[in-house]
Structure formats: structure tokens, C-alpha cells
């Protein structure tokens, strides 16, 4: 009973943590982008203000049940992913509701959100939304390939499908998987570029082309929910990567440093890249990233 | 260039004795002809002489002469010669032959001219509205359309513009050019 209470508490705390950290990262990303573009840029807490404003806006309309459910779908995905991913190494309540979480389960629960959002976006009837959704799904098919290859390589190498086990193995060996299985890490990292949907893979939102795509009919609370869920999801993904490849974290500070370092990769890559077309993006992921994924699997099988 | 223009003029003269030619510098040559023959001239030029590109159709309102002048500008990428075909039509009964069977893009120009000048193109198939929405007065580009009066009548005019000078008079004074009669009524 006590452990259940702890874990529920842990989930709540890590939710708040994820929201805060995720929002800050988003704000920082705007600041960093601005600095790179020789601007002052908004303050790092700008995203909190935006979220607050969106929450305070009236949400007068919906286009039907699925439109209403769409943001909830995404939120469920983010929270579920966060619940499964352990936040810290060997922590009493920061393991969350982790049930020796299965990586495959994670793969699938992560697709629940996009599909839900796609349904929501679909019912708005805005053609831009539908176009954005088709792009997003196509891109997902693209980056899931190297990503799943990396995960399979991990599972082969370490004979487990549990995140906690992988973290423990790294702790025991004293070596991050990032270094012991470099190909796996490269494949996963390249897949991450697509996951975060920064440039050059920002074909889903593409404000100037698609009027922000799937989100184009969502304002107010809908947008707030989407925004916060994407922050939480970003944090969850970063934590997952840290857990899998960078040996997890012993305390929150280390976690934040590691995740931020990882977060810089898609962000900095994005600031200097123009946008891909959809088929280019898809083919990109089936090129070098998948090749590295294949190398990772071969490496895992033979060594 | 020069020989080509001469040859062209001769060629057109052979087929259309009524055509009037006026040569300009460099690559421009103008022809005038009555409106019934315009489609034939255009078709001949397009299909026989290689003038495959219709650059524009333009319209001039000769209010005093009670006529509209239509100018068809066509161009040949081979000869690099620009031909302007002028034709005049009656301002009180503005009807012209539709040429969008010769050039598909003529349709757009014709719709614009129809809306802005009220010239009917026989057999023009197009949606009812092009640039103007819900317009049912005099075509606005005709010179006898008084746009200032229309605007002040239709739109709310914020007070405070009264001290505005008439720029036109100032210019006339400087350059010594006379303001034509028909423009005088716009002067304040």
C-alpha cells in the first residue's frame, strides 16, 4: 500500500517536474534560437506566460467529439510514457509506475498520441490539418525504423526489454551504452531528430505552409493541453534516451544536465537547417540512420 | 530584325490589305486593323508565323472619340519581335470577338477588361466575378466614372483631410503643362 502511495506521489511529482522542465527547455530553445539569429529573444520563462495566456483564453467552439478528444489523447500518451519511464536510478518513488517497462510497449504507446491527435485534427475539417497529419504519419514511419532498430539492438545485446535493467547494466559496467554500442546510439540519435520535429523535420506544423497543420483549429485550452503535453513528452523522451544511452541519472541535477545536453542536438541541428520535403525526410531516415541501425544490430549479434 | 519586320509587314499586307503598319524602334511593330479581322490576324500570326505568345491584352478609353482601343501584344520567341495589334471599337456598343480559343490565357485578360471597362466579348465563358465583388454600377476604369464622388458617397470620410493641397495644379504650374478639360472636374 505504501509503495503504491509512493509511486502515485512519484508520478505526480514527476509530472510537475516534467511540465516545468519541458516548458523551460522550450523557452530556452526559443532564447537560444534567437541568440543564434542575433536577436535578444524572449525570456526563458516565455513559454509559461504563453501557456498561462492560452489557459486564460476562452475556448468557445469545437468541431465535434473527436476534435474535443484529440488533445486528451495526446496528453494520455505523454503522461503514460512518463509513467513508464523511470526518472532516476534506484529511486524510491522516481521509478514511477514502472513495471519493468517493456520497450515494445513504449514503442506502441508512443504512437497512440499521434493517432489520437490525427483523429482530432481530422474532425476539424481543415484541409491543412489533414495534410499535416499525413506528413506527420509519413515521417513517423520514417524515423521509427532506425529507432526500432536501435531498440532491438539494445534488446539483443543486453537480453532484456526493461529500461530499468538496461540502466542497471550500465551502472554495473560503469560505462554508458553510448560508448559501448556507438552505432545504436547514433541510430537512435538520428531518429530523435525526427521525433522532436525541429527543422529540418518540422514538416508537420510548418506554419507558413500549412498554418500550423494539425493544430490549426485549436486555440485556447486545446492548444494549452497540446503545448503542455508536448513539453511533458519531450522531457519523457529525453529521459528515456538518457536512461538508455547515458547511464541514467543519480539525482535531478545530473538528469537535467544530461537531458539538456541531449536536447541541444536536435535544437542546434534545427537552427541551421532548412526544411525537408516529406519524401526527403522519409528517405533520409531510411538512409544513413537505418544503416547505422543495421550496423548496430549486426554489432549486437556478432560481438 | 529590320528585314524580319519588313517581311512580316509585307506578309500581313498580302493577307489583310486593310492593315495599317507603324514601325517603332528595336523589336516593336504595331498594326491597326478593324475589329472583325483581329482574330484572323492573331490566328495567322500564331499558327503560321510563330507568334505563339500572347503577352497581354490592354484597353484604352478614348472618351472624346467615343471609342475603346484594344491592344493585343504578341511575341515570337524565334523572331524576338513584339507585335501590337490595335483595334478600335465603338464605346457605346463595346463588343469584341473572344479569342480565348486561340490563347487559353486570353480568358483572364478578357475577364478583367470586361469587368473594368464593360466590354463584352462574344461567347466568353467565365465565372461572373473576377476582381470586383458585388459590383453593379458603371465599370470603374472608364474615364467617365467619378471615383472620388463614388468613394465619398459610399465610404465614411474621416474629417481632417480638408487642408490637403491639389498636387496636380502644382505640377501643372511647374511644368507649364495644361490640365486637359476632362481632368479639370477632378481638381479641387
Amino acid at each position: 500500500m505504501e509503495s503504491l502511495l509512493y509511486s502515485i506521489l512519484g508520478v505526480l511529482v514527476s509530472l510537475i517536474l516534467a511540465f516545468t522542465v519541458g516548458m523551460t527547455y522550450m523557452g530556452l530553445s526559443r532564447k537560444i534560437t534567437a541568440r543564434i539569429q542575433n536577436r535578444i529573444g524572449p525570456p526563458f520563462y516565455q513559454n509559461f506566460i504563453d501557456a498561462m495566456k492560452l489557459y486564460s483564453k476562452s475556448t468557445g467552439i469545437h468541431h465535434g467529439v473527436m476534435h474535443h478528444l484529440g488533445p486528451a489523447f495526446i496528453m494520455v500518451t505523454s503522461v503514460m510514457s512518463l509513467m513508464i519511464i523511470p526518472i532516476l536510478n534506484d529511486s524510491a518513488f522516481f521509478t514511477n509506475m514502472n513495471f519493468h517497462g517493456d520497450l515494445i510497449f513504449l514503442l506502441y504507446i508512443m504512437t497512440f498520441g499521434p493517432l489520437g491527435m490525427a483523429l482530432g485534427a481530422g474532425q476539424t475539417g481543415n484541409p491543412n490539418s489533414a495534410i499535416g497529419v499525413t506528413r506527420g504519419l509519413s515521417q513517423m514511419v520514417g524515423f521509427e525504423i532506425p529507432w526500432v532498430m536501435a531498440i532491438i539492438a539494445l534488446m539483443i545485446r543486453y537480453d532484456t526489454s526493461s529500461i530499468v535493467d538496461i540502466m542497471n547494466i550500465q551502472a554495473d559496467a560503469g560505462r554508458w551504452i553510448m560508448f559501448s554500442s556507438p552505432f545504436t546510439f547514433i541510430a537512435a540519435l538520428l531518429a530523435m531528430l525526427g521525433m522532436f520535429r525541429y527543422s529540418p523535420f518540422d514538416i508537420v506544423g510548418a506554419p507558413t505552409e500549412l498554418a500550423s497543420g494539425p493544430m490549426s483549429e485549436n486555440g485556447g485550452k486545446y492548444l494549452f493541453t497540446m503545448m503542455s503535453s508536448s513539453s511533458i513528452f519531450a522531457f519523457a523522451k529525453l529521459t528515456l534516451y538518457v536512461n538508455l544511452f547515458m547511464g541514467g541519472a543519480d539525482n535531478l541535477l545530473v538528469l537535467i544536465i544530461k537531458t539538456f545536453a541531449l536536447y541541444m542536438v536536435p535544437l542546434l541541428y534545427g537552427t541551421v537547417s532548412p526544411r525537408y520535403r516529406t519524401e526527403q525526410a522519409v528517405r533520409y531516415f531510411w538512409g544513413w540512420p537505418s544503416f547505422f541501425g543495421l550496423l548496430a544490430i549486426l554489432y549486437a549479434v556478432f560481438f | 530584325m529590320k528585314e524580319n519586320k519588313v517581311k512580316l509587314a509585307k506578309y500581313l499586307k498580302e493577307h489583310f490589305p486593310a492593315i495599317i503598319e507603324k514601325d517603332y524602334n528595336y523589336n516593336r511593330i504595331d498594326f491597326s486593323i478593324n475589329r472583325e479581322l483581329v482574330p484572323s490576324v492573331l490566328r495567322l500570326l500564331k499558327e503560321e508565323s510563330g507568334y505563339i505568345h500572347l503577352s497581354h491584352i490592354s484597353c484604352v478609353d478614348w472618351l472624346e472619340e467615343e471609342e475603346f482601343e484594344l491592344v493585343f501584344i504578341i511575341w515570337s520567341p524565334v523572331d524576338k519581335i513584339k507585335i501590337l495589334i490595335h483595334t478600335r471599337i465603338d464605346r457605346n456598343n463595346p463588343v469584341m470577338d473572344n479569342i480565348d480559343k486561340i490563347w487559353r490565357q486570353a480568358n483572364t485578360y478578357e475577364r478583367e477588361i470586361k469587368e473594368m471597362y464593360g466590354i463584352e466579348f462574344t461567347g466568353l465563358e467565365a465565372a461572373d466575378e473576377f476582381l470586383l465583388e458585388d459590383w453593379n454600377g458603371m465599370p470603374p476604369m472608364r474615364r467617365d466614372f467619378d471615383t472620388a464622388a463614388y468613394a465619398s458617397n459610399k465610404y465614411y470620410n474621416r474629417p481632417g483631410r480638408e487642408d490637403a493641397m491639389d498636387v496636380r495644379e502644382e505640377i501643372a504650374r511647374h511644368s507649364g503643362e495644361e490640365i486637359p478639360d476632362f481632368a479639370k472636374k477632378y481638381s479641387r
Binding site: R39, G41, K57, P207 | A151, K154, Y155, R158
Partner: protein, 181 residues
């Protein structure tokens, strides 16, 4: 406790603070003013430091920016866009064309005073206003929001009939859906 007047005041204060520092702009790029927006947003003048940011669709936007003359044909669309925006919402008129018609005062198809048709919170003078002026306009709007005076949307709802009469005056074929939120 929540419905308490004082606590409502605090909540309003926080909300206004958030709204003030997060203005999402829907730039309706009519006329020559549209070209002034890019310098305003990019590195030279960087309006984003004020929390001003472009929004892609009316549903997400707070601020409608009319950047120049409006033909009657465009006015129809602008009204539609304005009505699709979610409360609270603000309008900034941009350049002398929106104020009194500017150089198009005698055109047969441009309106001369925007505030007859939409509730304008702030006008920015000039033909065209420079980015500094634009930023000054944003700052002015922020002040108004803080003071709680940027209530154009409320005015629009209040005087809807008057606005409608004016709109219908210049748009003869009124086929638009009714404004209903």
C-alpha cells in the same frame, strides 16, 4: 472564495500580465505594411523579446494586425477572421490607410476608416510606420491591456448592430455567417 471580487481581481491581474506578455499576432498582410512585419520580427528590431509572436490561424491568435488599406473585398475576409478569433482579442490598425484612407481616400473600392467596421484598439500612424513605430504600438497595446482598457472585443459585441450596419453598407451582398460568440 473563488468568486470573491478581490480574488477575481488577482486572477484578472495575472491573466492580464500573461496576455500582455504573450501577444500572438495574426498579421493580415494587406497593402504595403506587410513588408514592415519581417524587419519588426527579425533580428534588427526583434519584437519577440516583447512576447510578440506570429500565429498561424485566427483560432490561435490574440492580435489582428491590419497592415494597410482594405478593399471592400478584403474587408469581408478580415471581418470573418476577426470573428473567428477567440476572446480576448485585439486589433491594431496600421498606417494612415486604416485611419483615413491615406493615399487611397478617393478609390472606389477601399474603405477609409477601419474603426467603423472593426473595433480598433491601437492605431499606428505613418505611411508606412517604421518598425520602431510598430513596436511602440505593441507597447501601447500592452499598456492598455495592463490597464484593462483594451476592450475592443467587448465593444464589438456591445455595438454589434452598429458595426454590422456599417459593414453591410459597404458589402452589398452579405452572405456571411452570423457572429455568434
Amino acid at each position: 472564495m473563488i468568486n470573491d471580487k478581490n480574488s477575481q481581481k488577482i486572477v484578472d491581474h495575472i491573466h492580464n500580465f500573461a496576455r500582455k506578455h504573450s501577444l500572438w499576432v495574426l498579421a493580415y498582410g494587406t497593402g504595403c505594411g506587410a513588408i514592415e512585419i519581417p524587419p519588426t520580427m527579425t533580428s534588427r528590431y526583434d519584437a519577440e523579446r516583447l512576447g510578440v509572436r506570429g500565429a498561424a490561424t485566427p483560432r490561435q491568435a490574440d492580435l489582428l494586425l491590419i497592415t494597410g488599406y482594405l478593399t471592400t473585398k478584403t474587408l469581408k475576409r478580415v471581418i470573418r477572421v476577426y470573428e473567428q478569433m477567440q476572446d480576448p482579442k485585439y486589433v491594431i490598425g496600421f498606417g494612415s490607410c486604416t485611419i483615413n484612407g491615406g493615399m487611397y481616400y478617393d478609390s472606389y473600392n477601399t474603405i477609409n476608416a477601419l474603426d467603423r467596421y472593426l473595433p480598433v484598439d491601437v492605431y499606428i500612424n505613418g505611411c508606412m510606420p517604421r518598425p520602431e513605430a510598430v513596436i511602440a504600438g505593441f507597447t501601447k497595446l500592452q499598456e492598455l491591456i495592463t490597464a484593462g482598457k483594451a476592450d475592443g472585443a467587448a465593444k464589438y459585441k456591445e455595438k454589434l448592430e452598429w458595426y454590422r450596419k456599417n459593414q453591410k453598407n459597404v458589402i452589398p451582398n452579405w452572405t456571411m455567417p452570423e457572429y455568434n460568440w
